[in-house]
Every structure is written in structure tokens, then in C-alpha cells.
Subunit: 213 residues, 2 copies
């Protein structure tokens, strides 16, 4: 084999090996949330009957979280929305996460808040098969956020609680600022936005985003 | 008056004058569009009766454009939406501008297009008081755009047809890319987005945006 052929062979080998080099993947899968409800045990009792067990129908991507068979009607001063899904497990305090779009229909102003930040938020009436209750507070528009493990936080160079900007590609693309990082030992990597935010940027359940800070 | 007092006096004068210097305002008002319909004369005839005149109830910000008293029901393969507003004046071809949110309810996939770019877009059934018609095409999600005069285009350093990025401030802020500049001699300065895009970024009719390119 002459020098020329040896060179070609070597080049081919190097190119082939090069093809195996993996570029680190910094893309983040998207989870799109529709309006939903988290309930306390007391409120489950009032709406479905004492001791009623919520029925899991589907695990969600975050460990331990699931969608329930049960739904409720939520009623504000101007209108009602039926078939709003309950997510489990039960929580210390009930919380209703709605869309900005829903605020007009229900006739209430919900603030953009992180899950659990319920101080001073408006209330709403929940109607179930065995009763209805008026929540004194707990209606929010969920602030977009990214769940991730502590290892991923290190890999992305971010920390729990930090606000980052995310980039969405495509004709309807752009950036969303103030996306909260929620990093802990158990979380699965996923960026949570609601259907308003998904529709405005044409994001689908298969979409991925990147952090641009 | 000593040197010190003279200096203080002069400083005060300069500061006062400085306060009068006007910073040029590069902010752009926002117009938020809900789903709506533009109709051809033939389609008005079919839906409302031969020669029926559409009734103007409100001028829109763009010269010559107005909201009509009349509404229609739009029907896709999966569902219908009632009370969809007709905007005047009549056009050469009917066009139905819906939201991404509506696509799920109606059961159709509308592409993001500039007004008038109807080639290959899906059709829809329109139901009026005197008849219904099946449009062969014309359903779009309006691509966000900024109307402006040629003078404003020059001031912003953009040209008709250019795609720019806009910046929205606030907790739910961010940027929208691919906003089309529509500059001509008659347009009023206004950035048109739809309710999905407004809700995702918490924009209100009083909001302003800026071009960041």
C-alpha cells in the first residue's frame, strides 16, 4: 500500500472515530401544564366524601406526582370551567393553577407565583360530586420553572432558585425570562410551562429548549 | 457672589436644563387580536343575504379598518366556536384568523402566516344567519407584525418585510422573534399580537414593547 492509500485509509478511520465523539446535550425537554388542582385531605373529604381515595390514572414525569381520574368544576364571579383535573398526591394546602386565558372567563386576577407561594392569592369555589367549598386563597398562574437534579444544576452552571432565560427556536420562537430553577436530589430534568406559553411559542410535548441565562 | 456660590448656581441651572432634554421614545404600543374573520362580498351574500351591508360598530387603530356588529360560528371537524367577530372592510378573499388554542377545539392545524398568505391553508365551515359556507382555504394563525409609517421605519432603522425581535418587560417578559415589519404610507404605529401571545407574556392593551432586532 502506497503512501497515498495509507493516508486515505487513516483519514477515513479518523473521520469515522470523529463521528463517535458525542457533543454534550444541553437541551431540556418541555412539560406543558394545563389548568389543574392540588387538594388537601380536608378538601378531598368535603368534595368527594370522608376518606375518599383519589384514583391515580397516570404517573407524571416528576417522581411521585400523578394525574387523578377525578376532576372538579371551578367557579369564579364571572364564569365556571368544568373538568379541571386533580393532580396527586394530596398537599398541605389546596392550590388551583389556572391560565391567564382562564382569568377572563372566571372573572378573577390570579398572580404569577411559584407553586406553594399562596399568601395573598385570590380564592375560588370548587364544586365536587359530594359538596362544594370556597377556598379562601390558592389561585395562581404558575411561574414557569425548570426541574432538575443537583448534578444537572452543576452541569448547566445554575443553582436552585436562580431565574434564567430560556430560548425557543422556530418561526414562533423567542425567549422567556424569569424561569425559576428548581433543583433537588429527586427531580427529573424538565421545563414546565403552561398551555398559554406553549401556544404563544408553538411548543409541543416533544419540544426542547435551552438555557441562555 | 463667591466662586463657590457661582459654581452651585451654574450647576443647578445645568441640571435643570438637563431635565428638559427629551429622550427619543422608541416604545411601540401593542394591539391584541382575538380570533376574527375577514369576508369577501360573495361570502357576505351567502351568509347574511344578497347585498347585506356589514355594520360598523368601532374603528380599529389601522386607518379604514373596523369591527362589525356581525359575528359567525366557525366549525371544524372536532368542534365549533360561536360569536367570532367580523372585521371590515370586505376583502378579495375571506380569511379566518384563529388562535393556536382554538386549533385543539376545532380539530385543525392552522399555519402561522402573514395576512393574505392563504395558499395551501386549511378551510373551515362558516355559519351565518342566512346560510353556511365551506371555505376551501383561509384559516391562519396570524404571524405577529408591527404596522408603521415609512417615517417610523426609518427612525427604527428597519424596512418593510424585515423580521425583527421584540422585547417585553415584566415577570412574564421575554422576547418574540420573527415579528414582521409592515411599513407603508398610511399605517399607525402598532405591534399586533394575538391573545395567546399576550397572555403568555402578560401583555395588556396598555403595554408597550421595543424592537431589539
Amino acid at each position: 500500500m502506497g503512501k497515498y492509500d495509507a493516508l486515505v485509509e487513516l483519514l477515513l478511520e479518523v473521520v469515522k472515530e470523529g463521528g463517535d465523539i458525542k457533543q454534550e446535550d444541553y437541551s431540556i425537554p418541555v412539560g406543558i401544564s394545563n389548568r389543574h388542582i392540588h387538594l388537601s385531605r380536608n378538601d378531598v373529604n368535603a368534595l368527594f366524601g370522608e376518606g375518599y381515595p383519589l384514583t391515580k390514572i397516570k404517573d407524571l414525569s416528576q417522581p411521585g406526582q400523578y394525574a387523578c381520574k377525578e376532576t372538579l368544576t371551578i367557579c369564579g364571579p364571572k364564569g365556571a370551567i368544568e373538568n379541571v383535573r386533580i393532580l396527586g398526591p394530596e398537599r398541605q394546602e389546596s392550590q388551583v393553577e389556572i391560565l391567564k386565558t382562564d382569568c377572563f372567563k372566571l372573572g378573577l386576577k390570579a398572580p404569577v407565583k411559584l407553586s406553594g407561594e399562596l399568601q395573598g392569592t385570590p380564592g375560588i369555589t370548587l364544586v365536587g360530586p359530594k359538596g362544594s367549598i370556597l377556598l379562601g386563597q390558592g389561585v395562581i398562574i404558575a411561574q414557569r420553572h425548570i426541574h432538575m437534579s443537583l448534578e444537572n444544576a452543576q452541569r448547566f452552571g445554575v443553582r436552585d432558585g436562580e431565574l434564567v432565560t430560556i430560548q425557543i427556536s422556530g418561526l414562533r420562537g423567542g425567549t422567556y425570562a424569569n424561569v425559576a430553577v428548581r433543583a433537588n436530589t429527586t427531580s427529573q430534568l424538565e421545563c414546565h410551562i403552561d398551555t398559554d406559553e406553549a401556544n404563544a411559542m408553538e411548543l409541543a410535548p416533544t419540544s426542547k429548549i435551552t438555557i441562555v441565562k
